[in-house]
Amino acid sequence: MTEHIVLKNGTIFDPMNGIDGEVMDICISNGKIVESAPAGAKVIDLKGQAVMAGGVDPHSHIIGSKLNVARLTSPESNRHHPYPATKKTRSGVAGIIPSSYATGYLYSAMGYTTVVEPALPATKALGSWEEIEDIPGLDIGMLPLFCNSMISFKYIEEGDISGLAAYIAWTLKKVGGLGVKVVNPGGTYAWAYGKNVCGLDDEVPEWDVTPRTIMTGLSEAVQKLGLPHQMHFHPTNLGKPGNVYTTMQQLDALKATKPSGKKKETVHLTHMAFDCLGVVEEGMANWKDVASGGLTFADYYNKKKHFTADLGQITFGPSMTMTGDGPFQYSLYMMSGGKAKWSNIPVDVELPGGAGIVPFTFEPKSAANAVQWVGSIEFALSIKDLWRVFLSTDHPNGGPFLKYPLMMSWLMSKKQRDIWLEKVHKFASERSTIANIDREYSLNDIAITTRAAPAKILGLEKTKGHLGVGADADIAVYGFIPEKTDLASNPDLILKYFTQTQLTFKGGVQVSKKGIVGKQLQSRVISVHPELNEDLDRRINSELEEMMSKWFSHSFSNYPVPKRYREHIEMPTVIDATSIQA
């Protein structure tokens, strides 16, 4: 392994450092980007190639029991997509829900180097750490779910934000989490009673909490702890026509949370394509009247600056829907006339009611699907500040991450959009403003929305998402001459070049070349360990021991993920939360 490398003459797109298509050299030493490399460094000439930081994907379901249940119940999703072994790499399957090794390799081939699993049931975290052992080539983060947990409810009911923050801190340390995920707050819990919630002040069975108190309580706790990543939020009413209005109401409710640090944003709204459906004028909130909510939401986004968002773009074709939103998944199953394979996985104490899984095919000729497809594209092309957004398909919900290049092509090429508008149901054009939008994302815009902005949103901007000195040497080299390649007029080239990089480096090590992974690198785990003061630490340990012993069906001492699974791959960031009073 070469420790020092100079990448010469590449055309660099590094928006975090204000570099938009300049020919420059990048020096790598011991896995980091440095000012200059020592003599004898390996020189690689990248003349006529585009260079960006490694892709950062903060929302992709690549680990955990819901993924394994999906693979187990739907072998047909992978059967025709074998991924053969080579001398240096393992085999697997690479359909819409790839196996573990293939997941790592496919991300490497695409130039992505950091991926976050956004729905970790903390009590099952041990299994996720084992799985990460078999997903190579990435830095991986995990966001535990706190939104339907009986323990969260107890603290929220009592208005005890310190206790809630301490529970979050304890969990992040014991299982190695990166941030806080909220999914349909109160709604999944209500699903344990066959119910759901929709309004901000709806009742949640058995507890004196509401969606409002849960989401605001958790967002305040996140700010109190000073976590680098703001609360990662999947709102109530997912997938319902007209939900753009309730989503904006919920974001308004969250505006009350004051940022505790420099970062202004206190909430990340995830997979907006599923949360921001509009209705036609004077229409009802049903599928017949569904319209794009993209422009409505873009206007809101342009005015309100307290949140970030990602697309959750649907990409047509087979997908696998999986969310911690049990009642939503059940409604999808009911929409299939009870024919779809519906799976539901409750998790002791932390997710009563349970996460759900339903295979789903998004059809271009379906009016509802076409409108949902166009909504997120309209949004992405109508917002001013790209630094608060990133591109995602909510893999594998809107489609597999393998379709990111297709999503990029819709944003980068008006020609491509016009081709697709011909293929999809006419409501996509009729019920949106897409036909009048000429904007095309530049390579710089792509670099912002696939690396720089997501790194910032995750709070990892020191080492991820850019190519400046001090960054991790995670680098994607694309095999086209940016100055001479008209991608907007040739959308097929976007698919070609962004599906497989020319070279991908992870931590200064070349992991793939022309899409072929030649080096299997052990993944690492990015986590956050908030330090509490002694009093609060003592208090939370004793309270959690009491609650967990009473509520879980396994022993309190067996909850944390043992060191043996963590110490060789975990890179914890310790943050000081000692100012939180017990």
Binding site: T73, R90, S99, D134, G338, S553, S555, Y565
Partner: protein, 431 residues
């Protein structure tokens, strides 16, 4: 790690899929002297861990060094054209992961004991999905628990006393607020423990399930009884199921492996899905081997498929009925067997065993079993969860860390280490 006073608390039991993790294990010197909280089977497994042990590797019955045994195992593997790797459900996850690596390297078939227990359950789930539940969730909320074709009193002794007949947050008195029913074809130890025993005629599970579905949907039937149960009784059962607050259906091999097999499970899953239109229900297979759930899970994330995986083409293919161990043997296709932590000679049908007897067998197990009697190579292994650590998965998907409470016998190493030695040697041969 042994603790100073040699008393280990919160130790997970490695017998059945309940994975009860409240055992207190006391060790004196090189002996386990006491298992508190464990069921009789668990006590026997821990206290009797040295009984019937295979302590030395053998080749053709002759004691050899570990290195020699591995060498012979590698010879068998290298000269076979169609190696079958089988077992894995009574060992920890890391050993399973090594087995997949060996299967991939050698282009072999790898299968776990699922194929002879809850294989049809997985096939049923591949038809219909699976609306599951979780053990603490059932304890807190379930007012109606039904066991179907299962005898937990014998096979999962603490399932009822430890998980079900316990108070929960919303079920204060488990004897009053929660009803436990059993559906089976004969009276069993469990039938004497439950609130209601519904005896059906053998082989009628599918009909009874489909009848319940029809009744729950409000359909009228023009028969007077199904499976030996009168329609009014079935109507009463259906109504009680529909009006329960939170129902849980635990099913065993009596449903999975009886007439109808995966169709039974498919119907049970659809019944539970139908019930969710009225109230909340979930179901769960009573997984037998303590880590058969883990075997499905690790196999699924590594290969994409839960069992019956063939690597002959350099990538995983899934085909139950073709790559399942019994079928591979009964067809005479496997020309060598590597068996890890299972006993196919004791459990497989005669046709499969008779072919097994005719091919070279490598057997990795802590104890003597029927397979070790016919194996060319026997390699003793440390008992996972007693003599080495690891991870396993409870029947409801909860992963737990297994403890090492005592040193393995001298020279005896964990399954994963043995497999690594074999893999290293095979990789060297293939270079």
């Amino acid at each position: 790690m042994t603790e100073a006073n040699n008393i280990h608390k919160d130790v997970p039991c490695t017998f059945c899929g309940c994975l009860c993790d409240d055992l207190i294990i006391e060790v004196e010197g090189d002996r386990i002297v006491k298992n508190t909280n464990g069921c009789p089977i668990s006590k026997e497994r821990f206290v009797g861990h040295m009984e019937n042990r295979c302590l030395e590797p053998t080749v053709k019955g002759n004691t050899v060094t570990l290195e020699k045994a591995v060498e012979r195992a590698v010879e068998i593997i290298m000269s076979s054209k169609r190696l079958l790797i089988y077992g894995l459900s009574s060992t920890e996850n890391d050993a399973q992961r090594e087995a997949y690596r060996l299967a991939e390297l050698t282009g072999s078939v790898v299968d776990n004991t699922t194929s002879v227990c809850h294989g049809p359950t997985i096939l049923g789930a591949q038809e219909s999905g699976e609306a599951t539940t979780a053990l603490a969730e059932v304890r807190h909320r379930s007012d109606l628990v039904i066991y179907w074709g299962a005898n937990p009193a014998a096979a999962h002794p603490r399932h009822i006393p430890h998980y079900i007949r316990q108070p929960g947050e919303y079920i204060k008195d488990p004897k009053v607020d929660r009803k436990i029913w059993l559906v089976d074809v004969r009276a069993t130890t469990t039938s004497r423990m439950v609130d209601k025993f519904i005896k059906i005629e053998p082989g009628t599970d599918l009909e009874v399930l489909q009848t319940l579905r029809a009744l729950i949907r409000g359909n009228k039937l023009d028969v007077s009884e199904v499976g030996g149960i009168s329609i009014p009784d079935l109507e009463e059962i259906a109504t009680t199921m529909k009006t329960a607050k939170y129902g849980a259906l635990f099913f065993g091999l009596g449903l999975t492996q009886s007439w109808g097999r995966h169709r039974n499970i498919d119907a049970a899953i659809r019944l539970i899905q139908d019930l969710n239109a009225h109230t909340k229900w979930g179901l769960m297979p009573m997984r037998g081997h303590y880590n058969v759930s883990g075997a499905n899970k690790t196999c699924t994330w590594v290969t994409g498929y839960p069992y019956a995986v063939d690597f002959a083409r350099g990538y995983p293919r899934f085909q139950p009925g073709e790559y399942t161990a019994v079928d591979m043997l009964a067809r005479g296709e496997a020309d060598a067997l590597l068996n890890i932590a299972a006993d196919p000679v004791a459990h497989f049908p005669r046709g499969a065993v008779s072919h097994l007897m005719s091919i070279p067998v490598i057997n990795i197990d802590p104890k003597f079993n029927m397979t070790s009697q016919v194996a060319d190579v026997n390699i003793p292994a440390a008992i996972a969860g007693i003599e080495c650590d690891g991870a396993a998965t409870r029947m409801d998907g909860l992963p737990l860390y297994l403890r090492k409470v005592i040193e393995p016998p001298p020279g005896v190493i964990p399954d994963r280490e043995i497999l690594k030695m074999i893999i290293d040697a095979v990789a060297k041969e293939m270079k």
